[in-house]
Amino acid sequence: MKRIIVCVKPVPDPKHWGRVSMDPDTMTLRREVIPSIVNPLDKHAIEAGLSVRDSFGGEVVLLSMAPPSAQPLLREGLAMGADRAVLLSDPVFAGSDTLATSLILAAGCRYIGDFDLIFLGNMSIDGSTAQVCSQLAELLGLPNVMHVTGLSWTNEGKVIITRKIENGFSKLVGIPPLVLSVRKELNKPRYVPFTGILAAESKEIRVLSNNDLKIDPSQIGLAGSPTKMAGLEIRRFERKRERLEGSPEEIVRKLMDKIYQIGVI
């Protein structure tokens, strides 16, 4: 194994989501009151990268597109054991939708170069779009697999991937380079050891701007994003409290519909 890239996204800490408010003028969320954390599934992605490295060698490089304030979060990934980090940070990146973000991350991956695997969390808890894995892979011209719950290796260097599908699992066999996004069932992320915290202090976080990546500015940021925000509304969380009426038979039928809609059968 030469190199494993793990994409990491800072997200607002869900413990504080009750405090989010909206700026009515810019139609954006006032996120600054809410502390950021590493997207929880991204920790599973980091763990996946570290365990592949621990078995097969190589280096684990964290990659993030975020403001410079994200450095402490990357440091956390380095303390878990990643070898170095690359932070893509430039005001022209701001407002990128998933396609523009994927374009920037793809440029970051090419800059890092020479990788065998790219790991991502299956989705971020804030946007929950789960789109970057497939878009990044497409822009890099590589195959990708989402919903990964298991990984094992054959003697010929092929990777057996188990992934979640509705009502079950499927198994695939692939050859690196691959882009994989992982679910939490894949592993248990290691805790950040104190020795890791000390070691991380001397690990490199390279900050790159678009001067380094040289992406056509018309393709990125707010202007380069095909999707536009047409409206935004904060919904205070309330239970629906919908009472199902009717005979027991009718109630059972309505319950079946509800359970189906929730997507568990």
Binding site: R75, A79, Y191, P193, I197, L198
Partner: protein, 383 residues
């Protein structure tokens, strides 16, 4: 002056918090039931660096010192007070061997402590009581190349969780007649006594050790013969009191969080009870004490890290934080109303745990004697 935590310290806190919130709650029911420490967490805590946080790297530790230790203990205590109670005594065992041990002793005993293979124990208290250290009866007599120990030690934290204990025993008359020994539990004549049944900090074992013509090789004398009292006092007053303070600080933090959370969620007359001024006063009081105690605890630890005298500051932090934790836990129980006395709610445990911190590691009265001595010293007239 700088009152901020460094990025390193913030990361330490985050790391321990995540560990504590995930790993300890599943163990707590059994801890409450059996009173036993969850030994299966020793290895993971060693991997994290908590077991060897003050132990130098050459003996398997991470050598981060006392502010880091206080952060770790506070975060563990926020989830479960018994954890830092047991660990702070473990650290006392590490500190006394590191401060007074020979190279051989450090290699032999500090490494397994830092690796979480066993837990540190410092056994000072005789059945005569802990505050009167000099009055202890447990004896050690040199016969040939062995010391022969006789006597009993009681209220010993981690007694039943360790492979060896640092034991203070009398080798001669008077205050200069106490010596420290590293006694392995398999030495002939070393015995485990009863396990105590405490009403709080239940997951931290407390028990008795008994020595019946116990044979301790001469090389297991820790420090100089006659140096036992100084070793015990240094360890208790620096490592022990900062550790007890951090334990109480964790409980105090939990009491604040439980009280504020419940008050913000529990509706009364259509509004959360936090809208009532009476409840706000309670919360303000708990919060003020928490902030004060944080400063006291971290100041004492910072002094220790900077090789400055910290015994009075540690005594102050210990005395004040334990009292504040008990007070805050009582208020938190009251805020919870009838829920507060239910086993389902954490606040009743916090109250029990906080009460147990008060006599542990030096009573409030002993702390006050020390503080009065410090407070009066500048005005003392020479006779």
């Amino acid at each position: 002056m700088d009152f901020r935590f460094s990025e390193r310290e913030e990361m330490l806190r985050k790391s321990v918090r995540e560990f504590a919130e995930n790993e300890i709650p599943p163990k707590m029911e059994a801890m409450e039931k059996t009173g036993d420490f969850p030994a299966e967490l020793l290895k993971p805590m060693a991997d994290l660096g908590i077991m060897g946080v003050i132990t130098p790297p050459e003996y398997g530790g991470v050598g981060l010192g006392y502010v880091a230790r206080t952060i770790a203990l506070e975060e563990l205590g926020r989830v479960c007070g018994a954890m830092p109670m047991a660990l702070q005594v473990h650290h006392m065992g590490c500190a006394v061997i590191n401060d007074f041990g020979t190279e051989e002793q450090k290699k032999k005993y500090l490494v397994p402590l830092a690796k979480g293979e066993t837990m540190g124990v410092v056994a000072v208290t005789d059945p005569t009581g802990g505050s009167d250290v000099v009055g202890m009866k447990t004896s050690a007599e040199l016969r040939g190349d062995k010391y022969i120990l006789n006597g009993r030690k009681c209220f010993i934290t981690n007694s039943h969780n360790s492979d060896f204990w640092v034991v203070i025993a009398r080798t001669a008359e008077g205050a200069k007649g106490l010596s420290a020994f590293i006694v392995e539990k398999d030495f002939p004549g070393a015995k485990l006594g009863r396990k105590e049944n405490k009403f709080g900090l239940r997951g931290a074992n407390t028990g008795e050790l008994a020595f019946d013509d116990c044979e301790v090789p001469k090389e297991n004398l820790l420090g100089q013969e006659g140096g036992g009292l100084a070793a015990a006092i240094k360890t208790i007053s620096e490592t022990g009191r900062t550790g007890m303070a951090a334990t109480a600080l964790g409980i105090l933090t939990a009491a604040y969080e439980e009280a504020a959370k419940f008050a913000s969620e529990r509706p009364l007359y259509g509004k959360p009870i936090a809208a009532l001024q009476a409840i706000q006063f309670y919360i303000a009081e708990i919060y003020s004490q928490l902030e004060i105690c944080r400063l006291l605890c971290y100041r004492a630890s910072w002094l220790k890290d900077n090789d400055m005298r910290c015994d009075n500051e540690a005594a102050l932090a210990k005395y004040y934080t334990c009292e504040a934790a008990a007070n805050a836990a009582k208020k938190a129980v009251e805020i919870h109303g009838s829920y507060g006395i239910m086993r389902e709610y954490a606040v009743q445990r916090l109250l029990r745990d906080a009460m147990v911190t008060i006599p542990a590691g030096g009573t409030a009265e002993i702390a006050k004697v020390l503080l009065a001595r410090a407070a009066l010293a500048p005005f003392k007239k020479q006779k």
